[in-house]
């Protein structure tokens, strides 16, 4: 096998092995609990109906953005646990701006998106600046910022909210119709529409790939993630990279809540979904920080969530069982990745040694600096 193919196969084997292990462990839990293993899996693994399919795609769009945001940090060896707080602060700010409708039509939408990116970036940038200037672990500071985000948004929502008649819900002003992102129909009826924001998510994925793999900045970022010492010796300013990477990660996190705000709820309310940032960590791990891999990971998580919904009614098992599956996936993917990585490095070393042994005759002991003879 050529080294490229070997690397691809090894890379793909990680999620496959991880999934197999995760399904096995979940089955074990079901057996121990005395639940009908077969029924659970046959429900989860049936092909979803059109209506479910659109839900899956919608959720996957949101999770994909979250996964991208986390992956940018991972590429730099930064663990941005704070995507959860970043997207909620950003979504709130964007909803307020869009609701005010200072600009007409889609200009308002563009403004809202830019505000979300900026707010997410600033929120993450706090952790980046603390890490770069004071050496504060970004893990700790982003967790703290999550808690602060929860309190801050709840406080500000009370100020910004408009109370509807006969409802206890606290919501920001509704976004005018002309500034909403239209949904795309994939079947009959309103229940089978998907977010138009999916195109922006896809563009973000492409941008992520291009930035990391094609630009000098992306090279610097990956080099710093691989070896900070070598990066510094090569002339990369590590502190600057930490701050910029956190800003970009936070900016991407700012997009996470927007499909919902601009395509579904049209306001930010007290019931706005939380926890998407944590799912993003799992998805980035599962997708190996690759833009296509993250898409598969997001689809898988959305699929498991959607398909487990009727478990309680149909087979009498709590849908929370898929949370176990999802959690185990994260653990197994980390373990298998490390195993496969080590195996890959060893394989490569052996291959190189083999190739070199084939093409050269071993020099006699004590020979001089002359090149070894090469067999023709």
């Amino acid at each position: 096998m050529s080294p490229r193919v070997t690397r691809l196969v090894l890379g793909a084997s990680v999620p496959v092995l991880a999934l197999v292990a995760a399904f096995a462990i979940t089955s074990l839990v079901l057996i121990l609990a005395g639940d009908p293993v077969g029924d659970v899996w046959s429900q989860i693994l049936t092909w979803p109906e059109r209506r479910n399919l659109s839900n899956i795609i919608d959720n996957a769009t949101v999770l994909y953005l979250s996964g991208l945001a986390v992956a940018i940090g991972f590429k730099m060896n930064l663990f941005n646990i704070g995507v959860d707080g970043q997207y909620r602060v950003a979504a709130f700010a964007a909803a307020v701006v869009a609701g005010e409708a200072w600009l007409p039509g889609y200009l308002n939408t563009v403004l809202a998106i830019l505000v979300a990116i900026a707010v997410g970036a600033v929120w993450a940038g706090i952790a980046g600046a603390l890490r770069a200037t004071r050496g504060v672990s970004e893990v700790i500071s982003t967790i703290m910022l999550n808690a602060i985000a929860t309190g801050l948004v709840a406080y500000l929502l009370r100020k910004a909210a408009v109370r509807e008649e006969g409802s206890n819900a606290l919501n920001t002003k509704t976004i005018p119709e002309g500034s909403r992102i239209p949904n795309i129909s994939i079947g009959e009826g309103a229940a089978t529409e998907i977010y138009g924001f999916i195109f922006i998510a896809a563009a973000a994925g492409f941008g992520y790939w291009f930035l990391l793999n094609k630009t000098r900045f992306g090279f610097d970022l990956r080099a710093t993630g691989r070896s900070a010492t070598a990066a510094v010796a090569s002339g990369i300013n590590e502190k600057k990279m930490i701050i910029v990477a956190m800003l970009i990660s936070g900016g991407a996190a700012g997009l996470v809540g927007l499909p919902i705000i601009l395509g579904d709820s049209y306001h930010y309310g007290s019931t706005f979904q939380s926890g998407l940032g944590f799912a993003g960590i799992a998805i980035a791990l599962l997708g190996r920080n690759h833009p296509i891999g993250i898409a598969f990971g997001a689809l898988l998580f959305a699929f498991l969530d959607e398909q487990s919904n009727p478990l309680q009614i149909l087979v009498g098992v709590s849908p929370d069982i898929v949370a176990i599956t999802q959690g185990v996936i994260v653990l197994t993917v980390v373990i298998t990745y490390e195993l496969v990585r080590r195996y890959g490095v060893r394989l490569e070393q052996r291959r190189v040694a083999q190739v070199l042994a084939d093409e050269s005759v071993a020099p006699p002991p004590g020979s001089g600096p002359e090149h070894e003879e090469v067999k023709s």
């Binding site: 010796a233 090569s234 600096p369």
Partner: protein, 516 residues
């Protein structure tokens, strides 16, 4: 030249006297033969030195003897019994202990706590352990205070704690891996006194080093390892340092000596009053000043840890808090970033290629880009030029004889010598005017060493200014046009390599001799 045959482990020693007998030990790693047909006899109650160049296979051999790695072939006998060692615990139970070059002590614990840590079953952690430690330090003359915190202790004292740890675990054979590398001269003398006491008490010591004068001073027998195999075992009375060095490098090897002088009057690198203080205000570099001309190699000699690393990182802009001026070809580098300094024409071969020179888990072509992200052929219009970088990687592989199947191979899959040749090739790209070579041949095989010497000579011929830092005095004397000696962060003497002897350099490096 001393008579040198393939294997000369003294065959006449009576078997009861031999503490460790190694026969035909071999160990291969992908792409390298680390050990091949190693034969050594260590007599009981003696200091047996193991000398060889960096990368000759000493450390691998000791890891085998300490059970860290199994040998691929050969036998180990301890006190006449064949043993197979699968782990350090195995080795300890057979009475083999090892003191590593890098200490493994918990700074926030006391000497007593450090010694008993992990060996609680021997004498507990209380009064019995304390009695045992006191008994050991008395009978072996290892002077330690059991209740002192390790973080308050100096390097020499920490090393004694490490030795005590090994003895506490019942070792009768103690391996010391380059124990003097971290010590200042008077600490070295203390260590040697300790070792002589241990030997008098019947402990056998294996002493790994490449400092020949130290080996000659302390060892009872010396085994020389070259290219992974034992080439000779000699008595220190019978050899000189020069002869030992010849045994280590092999008489047929090329000498690093340069051709006729190419030094010009044109000053390329000029350093004035360079200084750097450590966090606690101690000067790491002080009043450093020198010039390197076009076509000149300036060698820096010194015992490791006397400021060489700081000097290089100061010139590269990798350290904060540097004062003084650094000018290269008329431009002031002092306030430039590392990247701008590289762009001004500095090539850098770092001392630790794994930490500072390579992305080990990235393919070679990405490593070609590293440090050259900002210019062709690595980049175009802010984008990484992958085809350009790959093609230039092929050129380096070809021109610098890097043994690899191609530019997509991970850097970690290459042997040390090939990694280093690749780095030299990369840093010589993009027409640098200053080449900083820090220990350029450390840990590489002799073939790569000769090739790297040739490249440095070529750089000099082509009119580069070369700053060469090395622990290998022959390399320094052979390649340099001028040698400066660094001691405790200051330049203490300038020598002409055509006239200086390694002995003179050696005494200047330790501050013993008068500076020229």
């Amino acid at each position: 030249m001393v008579t040198s045959t393939a294997s000369t482990a003294s065959p006449d020693a009576p078997p009861g006297e031999i503490a460790v007998r190694l026969r035909g030990i071999g160990k291969r790693f992908p792409g390298v033969i680390a050990n091949d047909d190693i034969n050594i006899d260590v007599r009981r109650g003696t200091i047996h030195a193991l000398v060889g160049e960096n990368g000759a296979g000493k450390s691998t051999l000791m890891k085998i003897l300490y059970g860290v790695q199994p040998p691929d072939s050969g036998t180990i006998e301890i006190d006449g019994e064949p043993v197979s060692l699968h782990s350090p615990a195995d080795a300890i139970s057979h009475g083999v202990g090892m003191v590593f070059q890098h200490f493994m002590l918990a700074d926030n614990l006391t000497v007593l706590e450090n010694v008993v840590l992990g060996a609680e079953r021997r004498h507990g952690i209380g009064a019995a352990a304390r009695r045992e430690i006191e008994r050991l330090s008395e009978s072996y003359g290892v002077d330690v205070e059991p209740d002192r915190l390790v973080e308050t202790m100096g390097v020499g004292a920490r090393q004694r704690v490490e030795i005590l740890k090994v003895l506490y675990r019942g070792a009768r054979i103690v391996i010391l891996d380059e124990p003097t590398a971290v010590l200042v001269p008077h600490e070295v003398d203390e260590l040697f006194d300790n070792l002589r006491e241990l030997k008098a008490e019947g402990i056998s010591i294996i002493f790994i080093s490449h400092k020949l004068d130290e080996v000659l001073a302390v060892a009872d027998e010396i085994t020389v390892i070259r290219r992974g195999t034992t080439v000779d075992t000699v008595n220190p009375e019978d050899v000189t340092a020069r002869q030992l060095a010849e045994l280590m490098v092999g008489s047929e090897l090329p000498s690093p000596s340069t051709e006729t002088s190419t030094v010009t009057d044109d000053v390329l690198l000029s350093i004035r009053d360079l200084g750097l203080d450590s966090a606690d205000g101690r000067p790491l570099l002080e009043g450093i000043g020198f010039e390197i001309h076009r076509g000149e190699v300036l060698g820096i000699a010194g015992v490791e840890g006397n400021g060489q690393e700081e000097l290089v990182e100061a010139i590269m802009g990798m350290r904060h808090g540097i004062h003084g001026t650094i000018r290269l070809g008329g431009r002031d580098l002092s306030s430039m970033s590392t990247r701008d300094r590289r762009a001004s024409g500095v090539g850098y071969i770092p001392a630790d290629r794994h930490r500072h020179g390579l992305l080990l888990e990235a393919p070679l072509w990405e490593n070609r880009v590293l440090g050259h992200q900002f210019r062709p052929p690595s980049a175009k219009h802010g984008l990484i030029d992958k085809p350009g970088a790959r093609q230039d990687t092929r050129r380096i592989i070809e021109e610098y004889d890097v043994r690899t199947p191609g530019p997509d191979v991970l850097a970690s899959a290459l042997s040390g010598g090939n990694q280093q040749k690749f780095i030299v090739g990369r840093e010589m790209s993009s027409e640098p005017i200053l080449l900083i070579a820090s220990h350029p041949t450390r840990g590489v095989d002799v073939g790569a060493q000769a090739a790297i010497w040739d490249h440095i000579k070529r750089a000099r011929r082509e009119g580069l200014a070369v700053l060469l830092i090395s622990a290998d005095l022959d390399e320094l004397i052979g390649l340099s046009d001028t040698i400066e000696v660094i001691l405790r962060g200051r330049l203490v003497g300038t020598f002409d390599p055509a006239k200086v002897t390694p002995e003179e350099l050696g005494s200047a490096m330790t501050g013993a001799g008068a500076a020229a």
